[in-house]
Each structure stands twice: as C-alpha cells, then as structure tokens.
Assembly symmetry: C2
C-alpha cells in the first residue's frame, strides 16, 4: 500500500477483546492479581525470541505520565487504561501497528492498525496475534455466547472493526448528522477520534461496529467495509459538489487556512486540527501541493503530550500553543 493516502480513509483498525479464563475481569482484580495477569501475558512475549525482538513491553506504572498520555494520543492505549494504569500494561510492536493492552476493560485487547483501507490486513494481523496468545493462555469462552468479555457489548466475537475517516465535505454540507442516525440503526457508530464522547476534531470521524454478539467476524468486517466504501463515495460526491459549485471559494478557504497555519504565532490544538483538515482536503483535491502522510504525522504530534515529547520539555498551555505554531510552521511546505 502506498504511503500517501488520498482517500478519506485515514486508517483502519481491528480490536479483539479477550480474557483469561482463570482470572476475574480486570475490574474485580487487586493490583497484585493484575500483576499476575500482566506476567502471564508478558511471558508469552518473553519466551519467544522473535516476539521479544519485535515487541516492547510497557508496564504502565513504571512509565512517566507524559509518555502514557502520548500513548493515548497515538491510540496505543485507551483513556480507560490510562486511568487504571497501576494495574495495566501494553505490549507494542516496534512498528506501532500492533498494541496489546493488558487489564483495560478486558485482560487482553489486541489492536491492529493499518493506514488507509487496510482492514483485511489488520484483521489478519489481529488473528495471528490472537492465535499466538491462545497458544499459551486459556481464554474465557462459551460455546453458545463466544468470547466472554467484561462489557456485554463485546461478548461474542469480541471484535471491533473501525475506520478513521476524514470527512470535511460531508461535514461542511451538514450531511453527517443524518448519516450518523442511519448508521446507528444498522449497528454502527460514528464518533470523534478518541471514541465515545470525544469530539470530532479536524473533521476526523471514527466509524465502528456496535454489535458483536450473534454475528460472525466476517459479517462485522463486511458491514464496516461496506460503510467505509459508501462514506468514501458520499464524501467524494460532496467534494465534487463543493468544487463544481464554487471551486474558488474552496481554494480561498484552503489557502487561508494554509496561510494562518504557516504564519500564526499561537495555535491551539482544536483550531490547528480544523486548519490542517482544510490543507489535507486541499492536497486531496490537488489545490495545493503537499504530503498528506506528513500532515497526519503533524496532527498526531501536535497533541498536548506528544508535542511536549517532541520538544522534550514540559510545556503549559500557552507554551504549547507557541511551540505548536512553531512546529507546524516549520513542517508545512
């Protein structure tokens, strides 16, 4: 797959929720017992030379807060796990495409990420990791229900398939509200980049399945894929409409956003995301030159914790706004 992604599909992700039979769900575990769970899972990686080389084990309580926050910002761990970090760990592949959260809502959460429409690759990678772990651990599984999970919404396949999509034109045309309502009727949700309750910054929307019980993995993935394709088409139609309606108006908006990003001395995260969204759209539409991979990289690194780690210093909000403007101004073409 090309490194440059000119489609609205920024990335796709598979998540599998699994639990170890002999332990209660994480919410019921003492810190000591949580450590046992961590050790059981970590052993799988430590005992295999190949895995040991390719994965990094992070016991969260041994890691500083900023780095943990950066992990949230880069989707390696969830806000939930950050809040329960004394009991948690995360195993991350060196290419950052696979992360296994330990003692989040479930003992094991395998997450596989692919750029663009890579949902099949992500599913394959998740399955391989699932097989590896199942080779050493006895999962909580019920013949009738499937995989048992802490939260009912994950019982069954324990699978969540999702896509991060950049939908500026649908947003601009006010069509997303209706789409979100329609999707919820067929068991899919649309949220901001950080899941439930998170705002969609920079026109980035996360589409994922809600239901995991009584459906097969294949059903879920097909349903999500189907919606990704439909949303891609709708977004492209909306872009074409905007362009054919008044190309110059779009060009003006995009260039203004570029001009502000390139020249501002103070940029907060929300505004930066909005302006970067315009520039990404501009590159997608061939209106301005640039590299969307770089822009997604910028979007990642201008988050509060990530930015502080880029500059290797603790920064208050004002200082972050200054450094964010500096960082974006320097990296933008």
């Amino acid at each position: 797959m090309s490194d440059i992604n000119y489609s609205p599909v920024v990335s796709t992700r598979i998540r599998l929720a699994r639990n170890i039979k002999k332990y209660p769900f994480p919410i019921m575990l003492s810190e000591e017992k949580s450590n046992e769970v961590i050790q059981e899972i970590v052993k799988v990686f430590e005992n295999d030379e190949q895995l040991r080389d390719r994965y990094e084990i992070n016991i969260l309580k041994r890691i500083d807060m900023l780095t943990k926050q950066e992990m949230v910002e880069h989707h390696l761990i969830s806000t939930n796990l950050l809040n329960e970090y004394e009991k948690g760990a995360v195993v991350v592949s060196k290419d950052k495409k696979i992360s296994i959260m330990i003692n989040e809502e479930d003992h094991i959460r395998i997450q596989c990420l692919e750029k663009g429409m890579g949902i099949d690759d992500a599913y394959e990678a998740a399955n391989r990791m699932d097989d590896i772990l199942e080779g050493s651990l006895e999962y909580a599984f019920n013949e009738k229900l499937g995989f048992l999970t802490s939260c009912l919404t994950n019982v069954g396949t324990g699978l969540r398939a999702s896509a991060m999509m950049h939908l500026p034109a649908l947003k601009a045309m006010g069509e997303l509200k209706r789409i979100i309502q329609t999707l919820s009727k067929i068991g899919l949700t649309v949220r901001g980049a950080y899941g439930e309750g998170s705002e969609a910054l920079g026109n980035m929307f996360q589409i994922s399945n809600q239901v995991t019980l009584g459906v097969s993995d294949k059903d879920i993935i097909e349903a999500v894929k189907n919606i990704i394709i439909q949303l891609t088409e709708k977004e492209e139609k909306a872009r074409n409409f905007l362009i054919s309606n008044d190309r110059l108006l779009i060009e003006d908006k995009i260039y203004r956003s570029y001009g502000v990003l390139k020249n501002a001395k103070l940029l907060n995260y929300e505004e930066s995301m909005m302006l970067l969204s315009d520039v990404i759209l501009g590159i997608d539409l061939g209106i301005i030159e640039g590299n969307n991979t770089m822009l997604h990289h910028i979007m990642n690194n201008i988050q509060p914790a990530s930015l502080q780690l880029v500059y290797k210093e603790e920064l208050n909000e004002r200082e972050r706004d200054i450094k964010r403007a500096e960082y974006i101004g320097d990296l933008l073409n």
Copy 2:
C-alpha cells in the same frame, strides 16, 4: 519629510472653500452657467505658462465614469462632485497633492494634501493657490462674516484642516467612542476616510474641524494640530499597553492577517483594509518587515474603481475580489 511614515498620521489636508462673487452658488446654477464658472477658473491656469505645465484640467463630463470614481477614491474629488459631474471640473497638480474642485458645494474648493504631519506645508500650499486664484477672480467675501459659502458650516475662513490617522490600538481598546464624543464638544469631528457617513475602514479615521466662523485660520490649524498630537500620543500609549500586556497575542494577530493577505484567493475591500491595518501596525511596531508607503499605496489601489484601472478592465464584484487578492499577494513582501 521621509517617504516612510511610522506615525499614526498618514496624511494631513487643508481645504479652502471659495466662491466667485458674480455667480450664485453652484446649487443655483444651470449647466450653462456652471460652464461659465469652470471657464473663468480654468482660464487662470491656461493663461499662466507655469501653472499650465504643473496642473491638469479635467472637465468631469468628458471623463469616463471609472476614472471619475477613481478620483473619488483618491480624494481628488468628492462624492458630491461626482454626483453633480455634469456641472463640475477638477484641476489637479501633476504630483496629485493639490486639487481644485470646481462647482462642488462651492465654486472653488482648494485641497492640499501632505503625507504625515504636513499640515503647515499643506496650509502654505493652499494659501499660495488661494492667492493665485484671488489675483484673477473676485471672491464672495463679507467684512463681518468672512468668506461666503454655500453651506453655513463653512462660512468665515472656509478652511477645513484634517488628518487621516491610523488608530488600530485605540480602536482595539474601545477608546475611540469616548474620544469622538470629547472632540465633538470642542468643534472637531472624527469620521471614516470618505467624510460624513463613511465607515472607518482599516482603522483609518479622518479628524477635522467643524467650525469655521468666528475663528482664525491659525486657531483652526492649531486646534487640529493639537488634537493630532494628542491622538498620536494616545495611540502610541495604547500600542505600548497592548504590546506590554501580551506581545505574542499581537504578533499572532498581525502574522495571521499577513498570512491571509498573502494566501487568500478572494478578498473584499473591507476585509482587505482590516487585514492591511494589522500589517501596517506590525511594521510600525517592528514586528514584521515592510514598507508602509507601499501598504498605503495598496490600500489606495484596491478600491473598486482604482483596482479596475490598475488591471485596465471592467470587473464585477467577484472578479474584483479575485484580482484584489492577486494584487495584494503579489505586492506584499
């Protein structure tokens, strides 16, 4: 005087209102009689070799509308005279610093413009022109009242002294309203760049005297000069306050405006003026490099008629917004 002006005083202007004794005021004149008045005044310039070389005579009905509108935009004629152009003319010095409107409210309106705080020079130039005209024409003059004019507010000296001031900091701090009220109590007015009823675009304000009766030329000029100096001090204090309060916030605003001016594809006149005002302030404060003479030149030429004459084509509003963005983007450093 330096060509570059880093003070809030953009320009100063003297206007003298005069009438020829043997004719009724312009409002009472037929087109034929108006022409007689024009010829009387034009003769003064045509009969003198030096004046002939240095002044251009423009009979307004012989000039196309766009050029007449440009004359308004460049303050060579007033909107009043444009509306009555069939009866009017204007004599303009080649350096555009002196213009003599014929058959505006009064038969003769001598206007002298100087960059920056040049009010004394402007007054001198206006007086020289007044003497020249008085040498050949008999003015309507009353020993008790002074010069007789069509509108009562000009009776007496017929003198208006004014300054165009760039007051972004006073505007930003919301202090102008109070200042305007105070000035009106001492017979001075603050208006937009195009006089009564015109909006102050780009934080450009015209300060001038209201009263001309019962005061001497000297009194008027001293009063206006005094206010220019006071406003300059107040504006500078306001700028210092803004800078010391949060320099970065000001820098951010200025650079954003610069970024939009440099990158936008559509710019209307009002927004352009507002953004250019920020850039001028930025140059004044040493925040960005640039040449304020160039920026005032841009402000002049992006007006609707002037812009069309720059591009030598008739442009509708949308086309002007496009060309204005192009023009500014090209000329801005």
